[in-house]
């Protein structure tokens, strides 16, 4: 619990450090996702070469969705039962989930930026406002990773986790994905009504905060077995 804020920040930091160290030592998972990103975008390139901007935008977000499912799913799969018991003894559930949320957001941000780079190289560059689009990509990848971290925590409790992630996640993520595809058209040169763009961005941020609050409240129930 957050009775001693300094301690819980230390715990979150320690758990984050552990995830980062694990990533650095077992690099195959990191490179695995990287290869997944690169090869899926390469296959897209072979299939449709240089699509028009709306198709480009749609494909970009769908690829982000699949990258997210793959990158985040492993975050709970890699924790063995014994290790979970160890975390249970040394840290609280809330610190654990906050560390996971932060870590997955970081990884997803990295992957999204890499895939944006690859999309530009391979599938052409329809972007008119590059930095605006990049900002939206950052918000979008954070929203995706937050939702899927929580779903991965739920799916980790059940069998056939990978397919469950998709079954549970795709319907829930639709509103955010629709919003993202809509606002990212701003980066492709579409002009919005005054205020409409910032409204949608605030809505996305609000949903992100909601996911974090729900995760912190609900995760303690998932974790005690």
């Amino acid at each position: 619990m957050f009775t001693q804020p300094v301690h819980s920040f230390q715990h979150i930091f320690a758990l984050l450090k552990k995830d980062l160290l694990l990533e650095l030592r077992q690099q195959y998972t990191f490179y695995g996702i990287l290869l997944y990103v690169a090869s899926s975008i390469f296959v897209l390139y072979l299939a449709i070469e240089q699509p028009e901007s709306t198709v480009w935008n749609g494909l970009f977000w769908i690829i982000q969705l699949f990258i997210c499912v793959n990158a985040v799913a492993k975050s709970f799969l890699q924790e063995t039962k014994g290790r979970m018991l160890y975390f249970y003894a040394i840290a609280g559930a809330q610190q654990f989930i906050v560390a996971k949320l932060l870590y997955n957001t970081f990884i997803m941000l990295l992957m999204s930026l890499i895939s944006l780079f690859l999309f530009q190289i391979l599938l052409g560059n329809p972007l008119i406002h590059f930095w605006q689009f990049t900002g939206i990509v950052c918000i979008g990848s954070a929203s995706l990773s937050l939702v899927f971290t929580m779903l991965a925590a739920i799916a980790a409790k059940a069998q056939q986790q990978a397919s469950l992630m998709a079954i549970m996640g795709f319907p829930i993520i639709i509103p955010q994905l629709l919003l993202l595809m809509r606002i990212s058209k701003a980066g492709l040169g579409e002009v919005f009504q005054a205020g409409a763009l910032s409204d949608m961005i605030w809505l996305l941020c609000g949903l992100d905060v909601l996911v974090m609050v729900m995760a912190v409240i609900l995760f303690p129930f998932l974790w005690k077995d």
């Binding site: 739920i154 799916a155 549970m168 729900m214």
Partner: protein, 222 residues
């Protein structure tokens, strides 16, 4: 039989809705014409669905606070009837859209939202069935139910107001356009149809709950 008054009320309200809704005069609008009567049967399905899903979440929260399998039975039964209402709402909407919009499905944001809600709750049942342990199933199911509800309902209420739509009430209230109904219609709609169908949903759920209580008698009293 205790507390039968609301069941009698439910039958009375639904009879009033059926007779009043199908026989009483309605304003003659362009394109809509007589199809405006669908508002008595289609829109209450969504009210019913939201109420039933809210009941389901209420019992999921109760389950997490005090793990009693009875609450789990309540939560799943309300979710089931909520899905039934959702499917009926989608079907009645599609039938109406077939005559007024020209085709049953036109990827309208409200149709997408409805389909999304059904998929989310279908996933709830798939998730539950993937676990064998009864307590774990109830607990993880409750967590997903609360999370999905918290994600889904803001999206259902906010997003349709931000995107253009064919659906009546395009600007403002996404459910029904108050300008389409006159005073007589409003009486049938708000006093008859909406409470009548909500009560019917709750009645159906209580029947399922009583049935499942008998089925799982051994588990509940163990």
């Amino acid at each position: 039989m205790k507390k039968t008054w609301w069941k009698v009320l439910c039958i009375f309200l639904l009879l009033y809705t059926l007779i009043g809704g199908l026989l009483m005069d309605v304003p003659h609008k362009k394109i809509l014409n007589e199809t405006i009567r669908n508002i008595y049967f289609h829109v209450p399905m969504w009210f019913g669905m939201m109420v039933l899903f809210s009941c389901s979440v209420f019992y999921s929260v109760k389950y997490l606070r005090k793990p009693d399998l009875l609450y789990d039975i309540y939560a799943t039964s309300y979710a089931r009837t909520g899905m039934l209402f959702g499917i009926l709402g989608l079907v009645t909407g599609a039938m109406w859209a077939n005559y007024t919009w020209g085709k049953a499905w036109s990827n309208d944001i409200k149709q997408l939202g409805a389909a999304m809600a059904l998929l989310v709750y279908a996933a709830y049942f798939v998730l539950r069935n993937s676990m064998i342990d009864i307590d774990k199933r109830a607990r993880v199911g409750a967590v997903y139910n609360i999370f999905a509800f918290a994600m889904l309902f803001p999206a259902l209420w906010i997003v349709p107001r931000m995107v253009e739509s064919l659906h009546p009430g395009g600007a403002g209230n996404p459910g029904a356009d108050p300008r389409d109904m006159d005073a007589r219609m409003r009486i049938v709609f708000w006093l008859g149809a909406v409470p009548g169908f909500i009560l019917l949903g709750i009645w159906l759920s209580t029947i399922i709950i009583r049935f499942r209580k008998i089925e799982d008698k051994n588990l509940l009293h163990a």
